[in-house]
């Protein structure tokens, strides 16, 4: 029964990592730079939901869509006001990476200044109920998190496969130059990827806020894990990043069953190191350098 409980624990955390990773991967695949400020979207969205539903007293059902609109606009703002001017100046990916890390730290501190360092939680819901089956337990909230994550991930998959915009995103992700020759506006695709990716980060922020409370640094920690999940699966492919995130969740939870819990991050970063070194395209990604 321990096996099932560990699997459930892996699914819960894997779902959260996957929500962060798929947004990150969507942006990375269409823009080809590491958007670490994605973590800022996660944290800012969580605090926005807190502001709207707890501080301003709006019903949660109203606060959530408003928060997701905010997340999308935040992503758009980051692209238009941060990355686009840098790209116009032909800044290298290293510069973009530095800018994204700086933005992440800036948002962390803005949240700290605006909301303070003390613990924030969505107090209106109280404690979730626990469901027991096969000697394993899961709360209704955790079940909800897994459910929301899976539904969103399926919707994202369908969006990428079946819609024109999704296909354009995949085309840009696959070959930006060829996509441009085919008349696809890569800039527009980049804007949409930032909006959709940030909305997904917003969902992750709200769900994490509900499960683990809010703290200004929450985005940084999640971003690192989401990034690791994306690298394990294959950062240029959204489905691969999702699978990589679940693998990371499984590796962490089963790993610390046999190793001390303090090794959890060591397991994650050990995997990251191995993949970066030996399989940088990830488990399910395609190594374009060797493709014929």
């Amino acid at each position: 029964m321990i096996f099932i409980q560990l699997l459930i624990n892996s699914l819960i955390i894997g779902s959260i990592y996957a929500l962060v990773a798929c947004g990150f991967s969507l942006i990375f695949s269409t823009n080809r730079f590491v958007h670490f400020a994605h973590g800022a979207s996660v944290a800012a969205s969580a605090y926005m939901a807190f502001l709207l539903s707890v501080r301003l007293g709006l019903p949660f059902i109203v606060a959530v869509p408003l928060t997701l609109i905010f997340a999308g606009l935040l992503g758009l703002a980051m692209y238009v006001w941060l990355y686009q001017p840098l790209q116009k100046r032909k800044s290298s990916n290293v510069i973009l990476l530095i800018a994204s890390v700086a933005t992440l730290i800036l948002f962390e501190n803005l949240i700290l200044l605006s909301f303070g360092a003390d613990v924030k939680s969505f107090t209106q819901f109280g404690l979730p109920k626990t469901i027991t089956f096969l000697d394993s337990t899961i709360t209704t909230l955790q079940l909800f998190i897994i459910g929301v994550a899976l539904v969103l991930l399926v919707l994202l998959y369908l969006f990428m496969k079946k819609t024109t915009l999704g296909r354009r995103m995949r085309a840009v992700a696959d070959n930006k130059e060829l996509a441009a020759i085919m008349g696809i506006d890569a800039k527009k695709v980049a804007i949409y990827s930032f909006i959709i990716g940030s909305v997904l980060a917003g969902v992750a922020g709200i769900l994490v806020g509900l499960e683990q409370n809010l703290e200004p640094t929450m985005g940084t920690h999640l971003m690192i894990k989401g990034f690791t999940g994306a690298i394990i699966g294959g950062a240029t492919s959204v489905p691969a990043s999702i699978l990589g995130s679940f693998i990371l969740g499984i590796a962490e939870n089963f790993g610390i069953w046999y190793l001390p819990s303090g090794y959890k991050d060591a397991i994650a970063f050990g995997l990251l190191f191995i993949f970066l070194l030996f399989r940088p395209q990830g488990l399910f990604g395609i190594n374009k350098g060797t493709r014929k």
Binding site: L6, I12, D118, V119, Q212, M218, I256
Partner: protein
């Protein structure tokens, strides 16, 4: 030439005047105001500011110079160097991870240092550093009678991997074992950890009667702890008082070691950290009236100090302190005495 000489003379005169002019006692504060331990720092600063406000009622006598140490060793050294440029008379530093690398530097500079929270033995070897807080022995003193009262046989410890957590876990394990209880599991987790499900599952598998938990963010442990450790009695250490975390429904029904003075204190918004900060500032001010160089000998000579944190016995030989702690239960967001 004469003009230059006159100018230099004027400069010297101004410098001498500045030096001779009396200034308020400058208390440097090194505390985390950002990062994962910012909740400690903001709470600490609230208490320190309250003390400054009270002391300065009749004029400017003391001022705080605050630097953010982020509860990180490297950041703490840099914060200390920034602080040093502002010439503090006394320094108060909080949290061990950030204070450990700073202590030898303060020793070299000779500035009196008061450490609140998590002083390690290595920090207490210097003549100019002084520890003013409760310690892990105080926690154990409250915890062991509780175990006897509950007829517990086995204990598990779930603790953070910070220097503070490791030290506390070691003391609790030693004292609990010496008292005849069996420590059946001991599990550590990283300070950045937010997902405790599997770590707590390992603890639950050992079937302990009582689980002692020490975490920098107990609010992130409590919901899972209550769910997973439902066959054990859960005892948190006093950290969950910071920022009144215990008021969260997640803590309802758990036990905790707390400073007895906290239960009686009417200090508005006060938790142990702000209360100790208040006392530390007052103590620094009171005992430096005849010169900051006399601060440490004066405190040691005091023997005991009655502040907001209660009547604290100061053991001059070890510069350790002895405070009253007890185990309380949380009920509907309030701390309830068991007797």
């Amino acid at each position: 030439m004469k003009l230059t000489a006159l100018f230099i003379l004027l400069l010297l005169l101004v410098a001498c005047t500045d030096e001779a002019e009396e200034h308020p006692l400058r208390i440097g504060v090194l505390t985390p105001l950002s990062g994962n331990a910012a909740v400690f720092g903001t709470s600490f600063l609230a208490g320190a500011n309250q003390a400054v406000e009270d002391i300065n009622k009749d004029g400017l006598k003391v001022e705080l110079i605050v630097e953010d140490n982020k509860n990180d060793g490297k950041e703490a050294v840099s914060a200390y160097q920034r602080l040093k440029l502002k010439n503090p008379d006394v320094i108060i530093s909080t949290l061990g991870a950030a204070t450990v690398p700073v202590t030898p530097l303060v020793k070299a500079d000779g500035t009196p240092l008061i450490i609140t929270y998590a002083a390690t033995p290595s920090q207490l070897q210097y003549e100019n550093s002084f520890y003013y807080f409760f310690n892990n022995e105080d926690n154990a003193e409250a915890f062991i009678p509780f175990l006897k009262e509950k007829n517990a046989k086995t204990v598990a410890i779930y603790h953070i991997t910070s220097e503070t957590g490791l030290l506390e876990a070691a003391v609790i394990e030693k004292r609990v074992s010496e008292a005849g209880f069996e420590v059946v599991a001991k599990e550590a987790f990283l300070p950045t950890e937010t997902d405790h499900k599997t770590g707590l599952l390992k603890i639950a598998a050992a079937k302990p009667d009582v689980v002692y938990i020490t975490a920098i963010r107990p609010d992130q442990v409590a919901p899972d702890a209550k769910k997973i450790l439902n066959n054990s009695i859960i005892v948190f250490d006093e950290v969950f008082l910071i920022g009144h975390m215990y008021k969260s429904p997640a803590f309802d029904g758990v036990y905790a070691t707390v400073l007895s003075a906290t239960l009686d204190n009417d200090f508005e918004g006060g938790d142990p950290y702000s209360i100790f900060a208040y006392d530390a500032v007052k103590l620094a001010y009171d005992e430096s009236q005849d010169g900051t160089e006399k601060l440490i000998p004066n405190i040691v000579a005091l023997g005991r100090y009655s502040g907001r944190a209660g009547d604290i016995i100061i053991k001059s030989a070890t510069r350790d302190i002895d405070v009253g702690m007890e185990v309380v239960i949380v009920q509907n967001g309030t701390l309830v005495r068991r007797k």
